[in-house]
Subunit: 415 residues, 2 copies
Amino acid sequence: MPDAPNLLYAQSGGVTSVINATAWGVATAAAASPKVGRVYAGRNGILGVLAEELIDVTAEDKREIAKLRHTPGGAFGSCRLKLTDPAKDSRSFERIAEVFKAHRIGYFLYNGGNDSQDTTNKVAEFCRARGVDVRCVGIPKTVDNDLAATDCCPGFGSVAKYVAATVAETALDVESMARTSTKLFILEVMGRHAGWIAAAGGLPYPAAGPVILALPEVPHKRFFAAVKAKIAKHGYCVVVASEGLADAKGRHLSERGTKDSFAHAQLGGVAAVLAERAKAKLGVKYHWALADYMQRAARHLSSQVDLDQAAKVGQAAVAYATAGKTQVMPAIVRTSDRPYRWTVKPVPLQEVANKERKLPKGYVTADGYYITAACRRYLQPLIAGEAPQPYRDGLPVHARLRRRAVRKKLPAFRV
Amino acid sequence: MPDAPNLLYAQSGGVTSVINATAWGVATAAAASPKVGRVYAGRNGILGVLAEELIDVTAEDKREIAKLRHTPGGAFGSCRLKLTDPAKDSRSFERIAEVFKAHRIGYFLYNGGNDSQDTTNKVAEFCRARGVDVRCVGIPKTVDNDLAATDCCPGFGSVAKYVAATVAETALDVESMARTSTKLFILEVMGRHAGWIAAAGGLPYPAAGPVILALPEVPHKRFFAAVKAKIAKHGYCVVVASEGLADAKGRHLSERGTKDSFAHAQLGGVAAVLAERAKAKLGVKYHWALADYMQRAARHLSSQVDLDQAAKVGQAAVAYATAGKTQVMPAIVRTSDRPYRWTVKPVPLQEVANKERKLPKGYVTADGYYITAACRRYLQPLIAGEAPQPYRDGLPVHARLRRRAVRKKLPAFRV
């Protein structure tokens, strides 16, 4: 509707294989709402909002918007940028409020992890204090599955499925060669402080099987003994190691010494460290793999449940904002394990912001190296279903957006 | 047929996502042939033949045999074991001939790479010299695509598809974050001396796109300049690096100093070396991934063409052997690029044994960092089609064989 306020959507932080399904949910729900004028997106997330670099989503070809459901990455660009505390330096928040006013933004939807939910909350508080009338809704997204107040996080189920399937496949490879070749295979997966992704590697096999999970929540005093026991029993061992593994002093096993813009240490290389130590202690031939971006970009193996939830939180965010709700996030509520049933409900952003949900104690076996039946009951539904991926000439078909820039109305701003 | 000679099949060397489709082709074609008695498989390849550890394939449940078409790894076990030259030490060959006689083996089908084709040839020569009547047929298999005398190698098309799809997906991820985060992403793939797998990473983008291929056939004098130019143009760069990259002196960039049983250096870690050097030279934030076994076990993303060819060479090997042919290998012959058409024909094992087919010069662009149109025309058909993968509870369904041991008839043998 031409006179209705416009909606601004932005993607934040590390992208996932289904964050664009959320963008699709937002774009199509907003297009269908008489309470929304045009739909804009921040180019490279909040950076584009600050720089007044907005993309006109309403001008995109509807067929390309439909393809967002099977396109990984962040179609409008994302960024890692932590805003300064407005109590100390409010210039960024003032700029955001100006951009909102200049472009008649009535709805701000910010799609990210716990840092981003905090940002959304602060933007909402700031706008309210300045009398800028904008509904601010956070939308959950993180492969790490560590957001509070939601049963799970869109993006996680697909990584979980990728890791579980990869363990199932690579374990068969290792098993078939172990007699004369590799006896230890280590797959390093994401998960800075929480072992949710590594936990999914436990789904294909029972605890008595050839797989060990190295979780960041657990001290690893008997790790090599556990590996040795698996090799003795099965002839080989597959380890799923979280990148966030720490030593007894809490130092990450493989810090590179570099920090990202959130002051988090940049990780990667835990598998190499564990493999070398295992070789020194046990004398076994090893291989290791580092899934890195492959795991969170692997839309070709996304979970249908995850895809559905990613789309739904986008649609729900539009519904909440246009119903007048603000400072909320659509959370996923599980109503049944088997059959799996879920719904969404709005939760206050304060309940989500800056919290971190780790694997509960009851999800890890007593020895620390596997998942319990309760964890399996939690994880299994999240990897269910194979989300369709169209292919052309053997390659996945992805959306290619025009990303037409909205005309600027303000003076430049130095971010 | 009860009185007909038995058939012995063995898997050799690194496994692939479709080598079990070849096993399916062998098992079903042999079961249908009146010229074949029982079908046996060596447990862990030639090692099982030497140890007289044979698996009774005929006793397997036919439904599980059917699942071999969507099961990665080597269902009967494989091994890395180079037999001594029979001219110097013929004990292994004498043992193999004894096992053949004891189990009435009339057909020996050996499924592997160029080392294995050489072994098959030597077994055939040895048996002929000793008057042991066995048809020996090699069956091609290698993700490296480096076998001579065949247009392509079963196993390669699926890895090529996996690498190409992974580049398409991860490039979108990197593109969306590059403004504030990773600008260089390096994906390390297999390929000891030949860059066929890395070349497949060029399929999703044109040469002017954000991707660079680091091939072992090419000297890398201007690599970092090429990366810098891509980042300047696109804001980011994706490098597909072959594990076999060597420096100007021919030393592999990342030898670990360990050797496998074929006296090949164990590789892995090229991506880390390149990334650290790029950071030092260009100061860019990087990420890297090591696909390792993931790429060759990823049956969930196998190419239908590759799967068809893997099954066909298994069937053809049975047809050749039962027609009296020996010392041959079914080679894939391409009869048309577009539409892609292929057939199989028998080629003498001498034409295959111990040769290594590298990327032709005409397949690499003048600057050394991309594939030409001719290479694209060669590769594209090999990744075509998505081979169906059944799932249950969100996980791929794989065959689980009984692997019933055939009763031993000979004294033990020390391998």
